[in-house]
């Protein structure tokens, strides 16, 4: 707490017997305005929003647009349907070189048995329709792990080049929904798989684990591709982890 210099002027009221006026709200009503005024004066701009967090003050002080109050990850006003455009609080993208040719990669991507074997923590994977899967997946890192029921639907597809899948998951620790885009292109003998995704996450895991979501997703994707690549070869080759992780920007 910064030092507070307090002064008093006492003008007793005559509407009650004691002359005392209530005062418990005090500067709780005024400090937000006083500090915003001081910040506007210091920064030479009036578009001050609260709270004056480090990140926001830095943005304001460096001529940037301030992050909109009460939001994170995307601007307010984007419609709730923004997920279909790759919006959402949790976003990511990347690419991976796979040794199999595109047609084989495509086949495996839509094969419930393969997916059941390579999705990290997958307990069950059923094909429930031409383009729909249902799964039970144990998701998490370290000891933070929860069982989720997931529904995946292939919403668009151009075999063996591109697909979009929509997914929903819910479990004790939270729930989420989103979409992922996958593109396959031949590269050498194998396939370059590019992906991006956008998702919204709610529940306990979002409330207290927000800081971790992006990293955890990265870990899970890396595990997925590791297993995907080594599927049918009797397990990951030594050093596979390091090679794959390097693709995701780790400096391991």
């Amino acid at each position: 707490m910064p030092q507070l210099d307090i002064g008093h002027i006492s003008t007793p009221t005559n509407v009650n017997l004691t002359g005392a006026k209530g005062m418990g709200d005090g500067s709780s009503m005024l400090a937000p305005a006083a500090l915003a005024n001081a910040a506007a004066d210091a920064l030479g701009r009036e578009d001050i929003e609260l709270p004056l967090s480090l990140n926001r003050v830095w943005e304001l002080a460096n001529g940037r647009e301030a992050t909109v109050s009460g939001t994170y990850g995307k601007k307010s006003g984007a419609a709730a349907g923004g997920l279909e455009q790759g919006g959402g609080a949790l976003q990511g993208e990347g690419s991976q070189l796979l040794s199999a040719p595109p047609a084989e990669v495509w086949r495996r991507l839509l094969d419930a048995e393969v997916l059941g074997a390579v999705i990290p923590g997958c307990k069950r994977m059923d094909k429930v329709g031409a383009d729909a899967f249902e799964a039970e997946v144990s998701i998490g890192v370290a000891g933070i792990r929860g069982l989720y029921t997931a529904k995946v639907r292939i919403a668009e597809q151009t075999p063996p080049q591109a697909l979009r899948m929509d997914f929903r998951a819910s479990g004790r620790l939270g729930n989420g929904r989103g979409s992922a885009w996958v593109e396959l292109a031949p590269e050498g003998e194998g396939t370059r798989l590019s992906y991006r995704y956008g998702a919204d996450v709610g529940g306990t895991v979002a409330a207290v684990g927000n800081r971790m979501l992006g990293s955890v997703t990265g870990v899970l994707i890396a595990q997925f591709f590791k297993a995907f690549e080594s599927y049918g070869t009797g397990g990951g080759k030594p050093g596979a982890w390091q090679r794959i992780a390097a693709l995701f920007g780790g400096k391991r």
Partner: protein, 287 residues
């Protein structure tokens, strides 16, 4: 906010703890100070079969200083801070520890617990990485030492195997004449660091940079070392500090959360890093 039912086990020797770990494996959560695990249990983020409370394991908080420094896993952060000899031997840790949580949490929180938990914003793992500290892991099959750079794998993920117990941190002999500096930026003191920087620098007699270890915390999903090899042999001054920090900022792949954007984290690495490096250079030069 009540945990799931679990078996509470309170071993009194390392051997007992290892036997329990062998038995429960990944289904065990090891409880040291409980400053992170307690909350995670209450929120049911972790649902272990057993909680192994190692606070009463005899001797597990021992400190030995004889060239190498060895700190036992359950050494409390407050006890470490209060140990003048230890703090003199580990100046970078001495700079970092006051930033760990609050004094109330440091009274319970341990060095080993913080390392095993491996929060990407934690100060102690960052210091370990910067100083190339080795982590001692024991299981019924034996004891191994894992260097910090191989220990921290990812967010909350380490090289510790489920049946292993983190028993000690092994700090290398202090480099004679090295300068150390640590700084972090958090919204409030004790909050998770948005960016933390730690540095150890050694200068040649002519004032050029001979050795530099420059660690970043809170930036990626684990503490990382910036690559400073290209700067060795150059004159260690504020200008060089800025250059190294700028390169580290450009090379980093910062995470974004609702406290800080990628751009802000990068800017902090540049500013804070330059300050920390300049301090470390100045201190090393003064020796």
């Amino acid at each position: 906010m009540k945990p799931v039912g679990f078996e509470y086990c309170r071993p009194e020797t390392v051997a007992q703890a290892l036997a329990l770990l062998e038995e429960f494996g990944a289904e065990a959560s090891v409880l040291a100070g409980g400053m992170s695990l307690g909350a995670m249990l209450n929120m049911r983020l972790v649902r272990p079969q057993a909680v192994l409370d190692i606070k009463r394991v005899q001797g597990l908080d021992a400190v030995t200083i004889d060239g190498e420094v060895r700190t036992g896993a359950t050494l409390r952060q407050a006890a470490a801070l209060a140990d003048a000899g230890l703090m003199q031997a580990l100046p970078l840790l001495a700079l970092a520890l006051p930033n760990v949580g609050h004094f109330q949490t440091r009274n319970r929180g341990t060095l080993g617990g913080s390392v095993a938990h491996a929060d990407p914003s934690s100060e102690i793992p960052l210091v370990l990485l910067t100083l190339c500290v080795a982590v001692e892991l024991q299981s019924k099959r034996g004891t191994r030492r894992v260097p910090a750079q191989d220990f921290f794998l990812d967010i909350l993920s380490t090289a510790r195997q489920p049946e292993e117990l983190l028993t000690a941190l092994l700090w290398p002999r202090r480099r004679e004449g090295a300068g150390h500096a640590f700084a972090e930026i958090a919204q409030r003191h004790g909050d998770f660091a948005i960016v933390a920087c730690a540095a150890e620098a050694l200068l040649a007699p002519d004032g050029s940079l001979q050795h530099l270890s420059f660690g970043l915390g809170g930036v990626e999903s684990r503490p990382v070392l910036a690559d400073a090899r290209a700067f060795l042999g150059k004159r260690a001054d504020a200008q060089l500090a800025r250059e190294i920090a700028a390169q580290a900022a450009a090379a980093a792949r910062p995470m974004a959360d609702f406290k800080a954007t990628v751009e802000y984290r990068r800017a902090l690495i540049e500013t804070l890093g330059a300050q920390v490096l300049a301090q470390a250079f100045a201190q090393a030069g003064a020796r």
